[in-house]
């Protein structure tokens, strides 16, 4: 099941997704630059640029946050409604997952 499908699904599925962790696969590395974070897929040789907000999300998620707890931190930092930020975080993770840049563990393990 994709993150997007989970986001559009039932409340139970969404809860499960917000409790999920992500993992950056071994073939992916990323570095934060001044104006963007660059994610490199070593398997394809492709660089992916993400904006500072995306970089912040990635930092939180790789620092052991769940999608839900990362959304909570961001909602506090940016003064945005939690539900809106949760949707944005889930959408962002789906985009990274589609590109093979992260793996999402819906069962809570990393």
């Amino acid at each position: 099941m994709s993150v997007q499908a989970a986001t559009n699904g039932s409340a139970d599925v969404s809860k499960k997704l917000l409790a999920a962790h992500i993992r950056v696969p071994d073939h992916v590395v990323y570095r934060t630059f001044v104006r963007e974070t660059v994610v490199l897929n070593l398997a394809t040789g492709r660089y992916h640029g993400i904006n500072p907000t995306g970089g912040r999300i990635l930092d939180l998620l790789t620092d052991d946050a769940t999608l839900g707890s990362a959304a909570q931190v961001l909602a506090d930092e940016y003064g945005r409604p939690l539900a809106e930020v949760e949707r944005d975080v889930c959408t962002f993770c789906e985009e990274l997952r589609e590109r093979g840049l992260i793996e999402v563990s819906l069962n809570g393990s990393r």
Binding site: R31, R35, V38
Partner: protein, 338 residues
């Protein structure tokens, strides 16, 4: 201006030699049987990254490399279809670099061995391929990161220039040397992230410049560039590179023509700097995970520990003006930082 011819390679390297000669450029200490023209002599006892170089007959090089087994990673052609340069790769053995009239070179997969079959021409001619492709490849295979850039040293710190081909990297560097800077490298820059600093390694003693650009350098300053040693489409000069690696202070992206300015202007680099930096890597065909990771690491270190600037160059502005503006900027930065 007189052009001094150096003795052909087959004469220079024909005599049997028993001592190992060491020269260094782009962070690689090249060990050879005889002095290697264009490589500054390596006088210290800490050779660092070593590559051994042997000149061999073309037949021996061809026998050592069966073309059909390799993967073609670069195949550049003239407009009439003739080969301009070809590079083949065999993952277990390394690389074969070949350009007609410039020789063929086998570089081992670890970058520690180079075997060359050379054409019967003056060294400065075949060295154009050696210094532009072969030695940078050896450097990259040994863990250095190579960029398409020229560089000079000012006050013991290196300023490097990145730009598309034909934008004036070499010309700006040449004018800066004429104005008193120390030559570091022309067209290929080897970088190493070491501790808290980013270090730039000096290149070979070679600078290839348009005659017309050289004539724009005042007579009294031209000798600072070094001795002309040959001429093809450009004039080949033998400058004296800085004797040791130096910290990289700043990286200047040359942008022309810049319609938004009426004179050469230097600003903090804009949002495209990260991509420009990532895109200025040399040897794009060297795309192993190890190299890709190292490239990102070094670019990250450059962005974090040095200053990045855009040099906006209006239409018609000369390299001399760019050099003078850069010199004033670098001096100001050095005073401010110091």
């Amino acid at each position: 201006m007189a052009v001094a011819e150096v003795s052909p390679a087959h004469e220079r390297f024909a005599a049997p030699q028993h001592e190992v000669w060491r020269g260094r450029a782009l962070g690689i200490t090249l060990e050879s049987a005889a002095p290697f023209p264009g490589l500054p002599f390596c006088a210290d006892g800490a050779p660092g990254r070593i590559a051994t170089w042997h000149e061999e007959r073309a037949q021996a090089v061809d026998q050592a490399w069966q073309l059909e087994d390799g993967e073609v990673v670069v195949d550049l052609r003239h407009t009439d279809g003739r080969v301009f340069m070809r590079i083949d790769r065999r993952s277990d053995e390394g690389y074969r670099i070949w350009a007609p009239y410039y020789g063929r070179h086998l570089v081992s997969a670890d970058g520690r061995s180079i075997r060359s079959a050379l054409p019967n021409v003056s060294p400065w001619r075949w060295q154009r391929l050696f210094f532009a492709q072969t030695l940078p490849l050896a450097a990259a295979l040994q863990g250095l990161e190579v960029f398409h850039a020229s560089a000079v040293a000012l006050g013991g710190r290196v300023s490097a220039f990145v730009a598309d081909s034909g934008t004036g990297k070499t010309s700006v560097a040449a004018h800066l040397v004429a104005l008193g800077a120390t030559f570091v490298t022309d067209d290929v820059l080897a970088i190493e992230a070491a501790g808290d600093t980013v270090v730039a390694h000096p290149g070979p003693a070679r600078l290839s410049i348009d005659d017309s650009e050289l004539r724009r350098i005042p007579d009294g300053q031209r000798s600072r560039l070094g001795v002309p040693i040959g001429r093809s489409d450009k004039l080949m000069i033998e400058p004296e590179p800085t004797s040791a690696p130096l910290p990289l202070a700043g990286l200047y992206f040359l942008k022309r023509p810049a319609s938004e300015v009426s004179r050469v202007t230097i600003n903090e680099a804009d949002a495209t700097a990260t991509r420009s930096l990532l895109g200025s890597g040399f040897l794009a065909y060297l795309d192993t995970p190890h190299r890709l990771r190292n490239h990102l690491e070094v670019c990250s270190a450059i962005a974090e520990r040095t200053r990045l600037y855009d040099v906006l160059i209006p239409k018609g502005a000369r390299a001399r003006e760019v050099a003078a503006t850069t010199l004033a900027h670098a001096d100001g930065f050095a005073h401010h930082a110091g």
